[in-house]
């Protein structure tokens, strides 16, 4: 299980910023490097300022994932970010096994009430046979929410398996593109 050193509470469109910052804090603690230009102490005011700055990238329609890249660049963090529409949950398992906490965007309304709604961002930290363990910024003070795997898969699929990966710049990601099985439909 990946241990996020600090949890951040957020509501509405701010869930993605909170998730990004929690992952940044995780990397700050787990990858000691002189390239970090921010305090090791996560309770330092600097981190509050970073969060406030991040909120500036949130728009009425959510936080564009391109903004995460710009946000990390302006902070000069030794991290990179990518939005990936990954193939399936096996990719999430792979990331977790590499100790990379993926941020997944799924349709929480659909998971709970079978009604489509806003894309909700959470950080996955573990998986069991039947569950994914998430840290959900909207669930202060508990934060931990176990997502039943099959229900989550369905709700995540409505957001095209969207996953934001934040990783150290020294990591290299290779892609293998999997064609759509419903390709015929669009020909």
């Amino acid at each position: 299980m990946i241990d996020l050193p600090k949890k951040i509470s957020a509501t509405g469109n701010d869930c993605l910023v909170a998730s990004v910052l929690m992952v940044c804090m995780y990397w700050r603690k787990s990858r000691q490097s002189p390239r970090w230009n921010i305090a090791d102490n996560l309770d330092d005011q600097e981190w509050d300022k970073v969060y406030q700055k991040g909120l500036g990238y949130v728009k009425m329609s959510g936080m564009p994932t391109n903004n995460i890249k710009w946000f990390l660049n302006t902070l000069n963090f030794p991290l990179d970010s990518r939005l990936e529409l990954v193939e399936d949950t096996r990719q999430l398992t792979n990331l977790l096994s590499l100790n990379i906490p993926p941020i997944v965007i799924y349709d929480r309304d659909y998971l709970i009430r079978s009604v489509h709604g806003i894309g909700h961002a959470v950080v996955l930290v573990d998986k069991t046979e039947e569950m994914f363990v998430s840290i959900d910024p909207s669930l202060h003070p508990k934060y931990v929410y176990k997502l039943p795997k099959t229900d989550f898969e369905e709700a995540w699929k409505f957001k095209q398996n969207a996953t934001v990966i934040i990783y150290p710049k020294s990591y290299k990601i290779r892609h293998r593109e999997i064609p759509s099985t419903t390709l015929q439909k669009w020909m």
Binding site: T11, G12, N13, L16, V58, K59, M60, S61, G62, M63, P64, T65, N66, L83, E84, L85, V86, E87, D88, R90, Q91, N94, L95, L98, I105, D109, I112, R113, V115, H116, G117, I118, G119, H120, A121, D136, L139, Y145, K159, Q160, N161, A162, I165, S170, Y171, K172, I173, R174, H175, R176, E177, I178, P179, S180, T182, L183, K185, W186
Partner: protein, 324 residues
């Protein structure tokens, strides 16, 4: 470290559009059903917007999600499955504001109509600042009820703006110009009937003023540039808009009401020379029977609320579950 990820190929219009949406607009937006159009796909964009309403007295919060559709469209070339044209983030933002304005206007229009109903008994005379812009109507109705009938020439000499407002009372059938010369403005049977129901000049004047506002608010604002009523309408619309969304009358602080007005009318600038203190507006709205004090909080009037509640069914919203 090197690792490989299996990712979905962007080989269908829905996926191409969603990839664009997430990268450029955010997870609040979503692609609607792609439309097949000759050599390209057109994918309309929708957005889910969250809205929170809080009853401060009972400390209850309800979160609603508005589903606004067709706020933009992405054009995808079929041969290459690449984006040919897509709206900018700024354009998406403008469309969201426009859609929100449409919802706001629906509440505003209905509220103005309700305030104009004589049975609601709004005391417009308590809205002091609004009175300054609508003096011609006040004075004309007062004069007519005191059987002091001004001539057309007399009204014309006061100014065109004066005659324009008098014309609104004439259009509603509460006054008319006589055909003989010199033509005089006289009361009609309709005005006298209203007077016999109300039984005093102040209430009759208020009732006529309410009807003028209910029928001609936007003409007064846009054509005659009478904006003094705007802050009152905005404050009441923001309150009742939230209450209707919540499903019952709520109690909120003055500060929250002020913040609600700013949020509710985001993107709609206040006309110049009508910015003034919220405590004054709220006190006058309470005096006018539009709002009510609930201890330290502000609440609404049941008579107004029950006439507006049906609007709730027309809002494109669902309620979010709160707490898991």
């Amino acid at each position: 470290m090197r690792f490989t990820l299996n990712v979905q190929k962007l080989d269908n219009p829905y996926r191409v559009a969603y990839n664009r949406i997430l990268k450029h607009y955010g997870a609040g937006s979503y692609p609607q059903e792609p439309r097949d159009e000759d050599d390209h796909w057109t994918v309309p964009v929708g957005v889910h917007i969250q809205s929170r309403v809080i009853d401060e007295k009972t400390e209850t919060e309800r979160v609603f999600t508005f589903n606004l559709t067709n706020i933009g469209k992405i054009i995808i070339k079929k041969s290459t499955m690449t984006i040919e044209r897509a709206p900018s983030l700024a354009s998406i933002g403008r469309s969201i504001l426009q859609k929100r304005a449409e919802i706001r206007q629906a509440v505003e229009k209905d509220l103005i109509k309700v305030l104009g109903e004589p049975e609601v008994k709004v005391k417009f005379e308590a809205l002091k600042f609004a009175q300054t812009g609508l003096q011609p109507i006040y004075r004309t109705i007062n004069r007519l009820l005191l059987q002091d009938y001004p001539t057309y020439l007399e009204l014309e000499e006061i100014g065109r703006h004066y005659l324009e407002q008098v014309a609104l009372v004439v259009n509603l059938g509460y006054a008319k110009f006589t055909e003989d010369q010199p033509s005089k403005l006289v009361s009609t049977n309709k005005l006298m009937e209203l007077y016999s129901q109300m039984r005093n000049i102040e209430e009759t004047t208020d009732a006529v003023l309410g009807l003028v506002i209910a029928n001609y608010y936007y003409e007064l604002l846009k054509d005659m540039r009478i904006a003094q009523f705007v802050p009152y309408v905005r404050a009441s619309t923001s309150y009742y808009g939230d209450a209707v969304q919540f499903g019952k009358l709520i109690s909120i602080s003055k500060r929250r009401l002020r913040d609600n007005v700013r949020e509710y009318y985001r993107g709609a600038p206040m006309p110049t020379r009508v910015r003034f203190a919220y405590p004054t507006i709220i006190r006058e709205l309470v005096d006018a029977n539009i709002l009510e004090y609930d201890g330290d909080y502000i609440t609404g009037k049941e008579t107004i609320f029950e006439r507006l509640i049906d609007l709730r069914n027309t809002f494109p919203m669902t309620e979010q579950p709160y707490g898991l």
